[in-house]
Amino acid sequence: MKFDSIIIGGGIAGYTAGLRCLEAGLKTAIISNGQSALHFSSGSIDLLSHTPTGKIIRNPEAVFEKFAREFPEHPYSKVGKEIVFESLDWYKKILASAGIPLTHQENGDNHFRITPLGTLKSTWMSQPYIYQLPVRLEEHQVQRIIVVQIDNFRDFNSKMVSDNLSQIPEFKDIKIKNVSVSIDGFSGLKRNPCELRSIDIARILSDDHEISLFAEKLKKIASPDDILILPAITGNGDGLAVLNKLHQLTGLTIHEVPTMPPSLLGIRLEEAMSRLFINNGGALLKGDQVTKGDMAEDGDTLRLKSIYTRNFKEMPLTAANFILASGSFFSKGFKAHYNQIKEPVFDLDLNTIEERKSWHQEQFFSQKSHPFLSIGIKTNTAFNPMHKGVVVNNLFCTGSSLAGYDPIAQGCGSGVAISTGYYSVNQMLNNSGVNR
């Protein structure tokens, strides 16, 4: 089967590239093996919170040029300031059109969001029910925080949240309380409510009657000036509609935090992008895995001719250009063997670290980043990878499969995914392979 472009991986990077290809009028397919890292994420778009040397960044735009000079190997430095911000703007528009309005600080600053652990994490663009605290924390306007514990729900611990929040010096004068709330719908269940995950509760709360009972209880424990911290327990795709209703019924300032997986906040993004991709005419091959490809010599470079998947063992899929958006270890974009890390589909060259001992820090929750998180595919400035040192000229790498950055420590995961996905399609359109 023949396409103009084929994208391997259906995470935020893959969908960004896919939607852009469709915009450019290309016949496009996305192949995605299972759901992506978004199902575990906060659903906020991190742009850049720290430099690789650990310095805190308040306004990514303001420091961009300096950052690019200092860290030329970082994907942002290859994409360039203009395209990075153009891509984020584009992403914001696309998601708004799919019913998810994302917002950021007007001056371009990062903001803090309260995490499920009760710590603060710097991010850049968030969904409507994320309360954006200023990065100059002393300027916050918070008066009181109410943390809601859902009775019998084990994937969120309000006590830990309130305990940790009260350790924050800037919060020493505000009241932080945690309150237990029960959900009536649990009582009729033939199951043990302790086994319920966020998605089970979301299904109970999708009933209008349940949500109004829940709203009544919330109104009794908080007032509109408070920040009401709720675990993300609404919606199966339509979570924002349920939250809007809850907000309407209560008038409260709700702050959602992701729970243990599945994260309903991240799922919202993935489902919105996936639906848009299909509606715009894309071909989505869900639950299929790319297993290998055929390369041919093309001058002194290589060209990827076709790929095979678990379902397409015999009949190859061909395209003028391919985008690799297969994620990192967690999504099986890389595979760690005992003494070696490999990219499993094409065996592309990685910036691996030889000694296994030095893949990670001694402590799991270490302040310093784990070196394995920066392991990734080596690319040229157009994000073409190499196979045994030879450039593959019509394959472009994006998102967390790339080398040269640490999405967690530098707080830049989704930003890199969006901007490299977007940029790769620009590169592809310039590539002579597409004769249009």
Binding site: M1, K2, A29, N33, G34, Q35, S36, H39, F40, G185, L189, K190, R191, E195, R197, I199, D200, R203, I204, N236, P261, P262, I267, R275, I278, N279, A283, L284, L285, K286, G287, D288, Q289, T309, R310, N311, F312, K313, E314, M315, S331, K332
Partner: protein, 402 residues
């Protein structure tokens, strides 16, 4: 190799499968794929007392497997556990499950008397009686039987078919044989227009999917061995591909045999193909029949098992290759019928709740037809939307010029 045996160890407990389970979505009492599948498998090794009767609420749609990022065969684990541990209590519902799952037996009995049988099963009184006694929901119409089987019709045409230079073997399944021979006839027309002849297997039995879904695995396994034997013969004798027009038959022949029934089909598995992937490949290799413009709008519904096989793309691309046709691809979601599931009184409400969004989208769509690859999706959509629902092959046959 039965991969369902130990694939639960790959589970990382992320619960993503449960997010995409249509039954868990509609029925809060169903614990969902994670608990019923990999979690339960671990406990069931310890003691059978941990077997939960709630597993029979699973429709075997496999959407959990498509979603799982760790490639756990969640649906297979559940189906295998049901086959092994489900207790068969002798009561009227067992009889109902027996009737619903013996599609070939009742097809053979009914087709000679089709007009009478159809009238009887359609009557309000009989529907109420079936609802009260054996638990076939009174809202449902049982599938209509055709007068005369496809096999019988084909006998007269067989000699013609042998004149074509290329041949394929057709696994028609129960549905084409007893309920909708026209689909088989349409296939024959389309293939002939491409200069390909159609053969039948020497013999075939129901693929077994309703038997699997109702927990009659021993009988299903017998059918599987029988079908594998007949397919092997066809491949050895004629070296033809084996094509099916049912997304569920082909999924079962290819995947459920080894994964759920532990029946080795390795000698034929690569020969079995769902029709649209065969056709699209022919089209792309230049062997498309001449088609006139079909200036119609259709909505396409992806059946669960086609989604799981990853083959929906072939049907969609094939439809997009029909000149003049406007193709709207619906969100891929379960229609709620899941073979025999929605016919059962105890499942009717959940089944309707699962399908609600799909029905509403179709009702609001202004399309001329709905198109789907699965016979049971067709019943469910026609019954709940009043939109005529046809198979992709029916549509292509409409476009043939000669």
């Amino acid at each position: 190799m039965n991969i369902a045996q130990n694939s639960f160890e790959k589970c990382i407990k992320c619960t993503i499968c449960t997010v995409y389970c249509p039954v868990a979505k509609a029925n809060p009492h169903y614990p969902g794929p994670k608990e019923c599948g990999p979690d339960g498998a671990r406990l069931r090794i310890k003691s059978l007392d941990y077997y939960d009767q709630a597993l029979k609420l699973c429709t075997n749609c496999k959407r959990c497997e498509t979603a799982c990022p760790s490639n756990v065969n969640v649906g297979d684990i559940i189906a295998v556990a049901r086959g092994k541990f489900e207790k068969k209590v002798i009561n009227p519902k067992l009889m109902r499950d027996f009737i619903l799952s013996r599609t070939d037996l009742f097809g053979t009995l009914s087709t000679p008397f089709a007009p009478v049988v159809n009238k009887i099963t359609d009557s309000q009184i009989i529907k109420t009686v079936m609802h009260k006694t054996i638990g076939i929901d009174k809202h449902k119409a049982l599938p209509k039987y055709s007068q005369g089987t496809f096999r019988n019709w084909f006998k007269k045409n067989a000699p013609d078919q042998e004149q074509y230079p290329r041949q394929i073997s057709y696994f028609h399944g129960c549905y084409v044989n007893y309920n909708d021979p026209d689909l088989g006839k349409d296939l024959l027309k389309v293939l002939n227009a491409m200069n390909i002849g159609l053969k039948l297997l020497n013999k075939e039995k129901c693929c077994g999917v309703p038997l699997i879904a109702n927990g009659f695995h021993d009988k299903a396994r017998k059918n599987a061995h029988f079908n594998v034997k007949n397919m092997t013969e066809a491949v050895e004798k004629f070296n033809t591909p084996i094509l099916s027009t049912s997304s569920t038959c082909s999924f079962t022949l290819k995947q459920e045999y080894p994964h759920v029934l532990d029946v080795d089909n390795s000698q034929v598995v690569d020969k079995i193909e769902y029709i649209t992937s065969f056709l699209l490949r022919e089209f792309m290799n230049g062997n498309a029949p001449k088609l006139k413009e079909i200036n119609k709008t259709i909505v396409y519904h992806t059946p669960c098992h086609l989604e799981r096989s990853g083959l929906a793309i072939f049907t969609i691309e094939l439809l997009r290759a029909v000149p003049g046709l406007k193709v709207i691809v619906l969100d891929s979601e379960c229609c709620g019928l899941a073979g025999t599931y929605g016919f059962k009184k105890e499942n009717y409400d959940v089944s309707m709740k699962i399908g609600k969004h799909l029905f509403e989208t179709i009702k609001n769509s202004d399309a001329d037809y709905a198109i789907t690859d699965c016979e049971t999706c067709k019943w469910q959509i026609e019954e709940n939307t009043n939109l005529k629902t046809i198979h992709p092959i029916n549509l292509i046959a409409q476009g043939l010029t000669a």
